[in-house]
Symmetry: C2
Subunit: 208 residues, 2 copies
């Protein structure tokens, strides 16, 4: 009979990482609509899973229609959208999973907040969670030419208000960990560039 | 030169489960403050991790001070608190991780919403995600006697308003998948009871 319950604090992140055999961190993609964020993030997710690394991608499909379905597109709601995504990415990273986020995330301040949340996550002797910003850098002309969803066309026609790059700003990262150019490199080359970075940082076993 | 990007839909849940070698689902603990939810959930999390099963626990510590730090304790905010937790648990389950949630979650309607979100998660030929409600059922007298954080005492003194079981209702589950009684069974016995249930449902390899 256990009338006296011991109140556990739970596992430390270090203990969880050891049990899971891997470390979690966040790879944050940012770039214009149609820059190739989701394509590269999806390919990277698949690559990591094939290596036996637990990874999960947060994107518009699984976040905007679920957790953030109460949010619109006002500036306040956009900030809150990115804040929640950053918090959820941090939870995934804390759970020893590689979190990949692919959202335009046009504002520097929002991305800095996401970075700060991770930087402040060290506790109980655990290191802070790594935050890797990947800038998907393409000229807007290329993005507009691709326009797979016809969004640029609608933005030009005034049917979509405050469209990033057309009628709303995109604030390019000043010091992203990685810059990829999907108009100059293939998806596979972009993935390889990120994988090389992760290996160099000891975030991915090079032997796998 | 890849000017034509292929637009991936990403992995299906089934493909991710195969790559990860496990299925995700949600184990939702509900019960009074001091009922033993977090203690059992933490012990279960550790047990699963030791079996090699990816698991992660969402609780007040990692949610209330992060994702849901903008929420107070009004009825609307309490609903929104549980809604977001349910959405995040669903994301973890979708990522092939066993999500454990330990929140009082006193309202039946909120828990039903969490269950519904999972029930409606089947798509692209993927099965819906399992939702397992664990009712941590103890008499309020026992919870009040334990009172490890002195919360019942404060609630009785009127220092905490709308405290579940004292000045706010706790709506017990009508058909929980599992009922555990931490005043009659040890933590280990409670964990074993849940593990037996999971094995019976094919959610945990019995051989491990």
């Amino acid at each position: 009979m256990a009338t006296n319950i011991t109140w556990h604090d739970g596992l430390t992140r270090r203990e969880r990482n050891e049990a899971r055999g891997q470390k979690g961190y966040t790879i944050w993609f940012t770039g214009l609509s149609a820059s190739g964020k989701s394509t590269v993030a999806t390919a990277l997710e698949q690559h990591l899973l094939h290596l036996g690394v637990a990874a999960y991608r947060l994107d518009g499909d699984n976040v905007r229609f679920g957790l953030n379905k109460d949010l619109g597109f006002s500036e306040k709601d956009r900030n809150e959208n990115i804040r929640r995504i950053a918090e959820v990415a941090k939870l995934f990273a804390d759970s020893s999973t590689v979190a990949l986020t692919s959202f335009i995330s046009p504002y520097r301040a929002d991305r800095e907040l996401a970075r700060e949340l991770h930087a402040k996550s060290g506790q109980n002797g655990d290191d802070a969670l790594e935050f890797i910003e990947v800038y998907v850098d393409i000229p807007i002309e290329v993005a507009e030419q691709r326009d797979p969803k016809g969004l640029y066309k609608k933005a030009r026609a005034g049917e979509i208000k405050e469209f990033t790059g057309i009628s709303a700003p995109y604030e390019a990262p000043e010091k992203p960990e990685i810059t990829i150019k999907t108009h100059e490199s293939s998806v596979e080359e972009c993935v390889a560039q990120i994988v090389t970075y992760l290996q160099g940082k000891g975030l991915l076993a090079a032997s796998k």
